[in-house]
């Protein structure tokens, strides 16, 4: 067991390991290679033993598995207590959490229990040095995140406490190719919690199958606040369906109730890397740009010629989307008839 490992909290829902946890194992592998240490994973739940191999395939060296019927579904207090206990026992130097709803419920509780630093929603993690008051801390985790509505990018460090903890959203880190032959050591840990450690009673869980697959989509058509009416939203949807694309949007569109939360792209939503991203009536605030900047091609449609997105897209069309989209639809229809 390596006392200075990079530990990943593995989120599971209905016995399925969350994608973000696999992405974080890959990122932990990259960081651990740089630090010449190992990758460990912490799994809490029930009946998951057969599911653990995939963690080894993506890069875990050790897997701490805590099995208890009461841990089948996530609740804050017992999960935080066990994770804090595992950290105290095994002393990792870095702990990563998926910035999911449950990950962001759990991580701050663990950070308060251990009095260590935590940075939410990092968009980039690096290893580097930190100079402060004439001293240098070498090889610590640089936690990079946008702040202040995306107008600044801050690099945060936790130099005087161990571990450094960070959360990262799904889709931000890339999955590497799994190695089916890779093996990890599974270390079963006992759950030594009392009934009083489980204050929350889970009465009901309703989880719908994902209806939107933004992350896996080759083409994304996204709506911003320029899509103010139902008619223009219908037009955006028509364009998406003509291209076989998924629909995405900015945060204000979700806040206005025009599209569901799962369509949100950007710092506080999904990160996408499609072959083509069509930004309809999106001004290009940084929070949003963070989630789309790695798209292979970007078409921006905006009636405001000063909209920042027009300067950073690959193709920019200045015009009202109600006027532009029909022309695009025609262009696609024309293609369909000629082939």
């Amino acid at each position: 067991m390596n006392p200075k490992s990079v530990l990943v909290f593995i989120e599971q829902n209905d016995k399925e390991i969350a994608n973000v946890s696999l992405e974080l194992i890959c990122e932990a592998r990259r960081l651990a290679n740089q630090l010449k240490t190992s990758v460990s994973a912490a799994v809490l739940g029930f009946g998951l033993k057969k599911k653990l191999d995939v963690l080894a395939h993506y890069g875990s060296d050790e897997i701490y598995y805590v099995e208890d019927k009461r841990l089948e579904h996530f609740t804050s207090v017992p999960y935080a207590k066990i994770i804090a206990g595992l950290i105290t026992k095994h002393q990792p130097q870095i702990v990563l959490f998926g910035a999911t709803i449950n990950g962001r419920d759990l991580a701050p509780r663990v950070s308060a229990a251990l009095s260590c630093g935590l940075t939410a929603d990092c968009t980039n993690l690096q290893i580097g040095d930190y100079n402060f008051q004439g001293k240098t801390k070498e090889n610590i985790l640089l936690q990079i995140r946008p702040a202040f509505g995306g107008n600044i990018i801050a690099t945060i460090v936790s130099p005087d406490c161990s571990p450094s903890m960070a959360s990262v959203r799904e889709g931000v880190m890339k999955l590497s190719t799994p190695d089916q032959n890779r093996k990890a050591k599974i270390i079963e840990e006992k759950c030594e919690l009392a009934a009083s450690d489980f204050p929350t009673e889970v009465c009901e869980v309703v989880r719908a199958a994902k209806s939107v697959d933004l992350k896996g989509s080759k083409i994304v058509v996204a709506a911003g606040m320029g899509v103010s009416s139902k008619e223009s939203l219908d037009l955006v949807k028509k364009l998406a369906s003509a291209l076989g694309a998924e629909i995405g949007c900015t945060r204000p569109v979700v806040d206005a109730g025009l599209l569901p939360l799962e369509c949100q792209i950007g710092q506080t939503g999904s990160t996408v890397r499609p072959n083509l991203y069509i930004a309809c009536g999106i001004s290009g605030q940084l929070q949003h740009w963070t989630g789309i900047s790695e798209s292979k091609r970007i078409i921006a449609i905006n009636s405001d010629r000063n909209a920042p997105i027009l300067k950073v897209a690959h193709y920019s069309i200045i015009g009202d989307l109600n006027d532009v989209i029909p022309k695009m639809l025609k262009g696609i229809a024309f293609k369909n008839t000629t082939y």
């Binding site: 935080a80 962001r104 950070s111 935590l118 889970v202």
Partner: protein, 288 residues
């Protein structure tokens, strides 16, 4: 027996509505030029507290941590119906990260002593961390229910809520005391009451050391004569846990983000040019 509720409110710069005069010539934001508002989800959390007060009876104390000017968000809370307000302010708390912030607020909550429910917004729009609520719950050793969109029922012993999870929701029940964080979807927060604005618009702060429950007279409508102001010493705060020295996270550096311009191709808004672009993308197998 009425419930004791504590709401936590934060004054934040309005990052969602950046006025033109707050933009500096280099394209970065002049933060001091932004209007200071009550964090939007804190108004949603306050609304939930007020609904509990209206249905089963409660006294509500609002607490904020911030500079003296943060009295504004306490007044906003008083205008909407809280019974009592506490301003935690001290230069020693400046530059606090989330952990040091949760320490200061926990000290203030412990000074108040009695509470059944602590309600706060899920996250503040200036940091979007959603960390302070759970950190306070851990420090107080109480349960937490985060990202709540509906309080289904509450009595003096239990609370039942609907909580958003990835891909759906769950219904959770917890004994009191508990800390709850509320999402914006929960409600449409009420505005200030004209009567209460008249009552509290000139309210001032007063430094005092003890927390005297005699100030809470919700039954007569007028509950507090002044806003209690507490500093680090009043909270018996350990200075090692406050401000910069109590903050394990440090900012290594900050970069203003300016989008790097690309060699953007301008496409004229004509059927010909747009049609040509669609064809070009088809030939490149990007679409189709």
């Amino acid at each position: 027996m009425a419930l004791r509720i504590i709401t936590l409110v934060k004054q934040v710069p309005d990052t969602a509505n950046i006025p033109d005069n707050a933009m500096k010539p280099d394209g970065t934001v002049n933060r001091s030029a932004l209007p200071a508002i009550t964090n939007p989800e804190d108004l949603n959390s306050l609304e939930e507290a007020l609904k509990i007060k209206e249905t089963i009876g409660a006294t509500i104390t609002a607490i904020t941590l911030g500079p003296p000017s943060a009295i504004k968000v306490l007044k906003e809370s008083l205008y909407r119906g809280v019974d009592d307000a506490v301003l935690v302010t001290d230069a020693k708390f400046a530059a606090s990260d989330t952990l040091a912030t949760s320490y200061a607020l926990t000290q203030a909550i412990e000074k108040i002593g009695k509470f059944d429910i602590i309600i706060c917004g899920r996250q503040a729009i200036d940091g979007d961390t959603a960390q302070v609520g759970p950190q306070i719950a851990q420090k107080l050793g109480i349960n937490q229910l985060t990202g709540v969109v509906e309080i289904i029922s509450a009595n003096t012993k239990h609370i039942k809520v609907k909580r958003i999870i990835d891909g759906g929701y769950e219904i959770l029940k917890s004994p009191l005391p508990v800390l709850i964080t509320v999402r914006s979807e929960a409600n449409e927060p009420r505005g200030p009451s004209v009567k209460r604005v008249m009552l509290y618009k000139n309210i001032t702060c007063k430094c005092n050391e003890s927390y005297d429950e005699a100030y809470l007279h919700p039954e007569i409508g007028c509950s507090c004569d002044y806003i209690k102001q507490w500093n680090a010493e009043d909270l018996k705060a350990d200075l090692k846990m406050c401000g910069l020295s109590g903050s394990p996270t440090k900012v290594k550096n900050i970069e203003n983000v300016v989008l790097a311009a690309r060699n953007t191709r301008m496409i004229a808004n004509t059927a010909e040019d747009i049609g040509a672009l669609m064809q070009e993308l088809t030939k490149e197998h990007i679409i189709g």
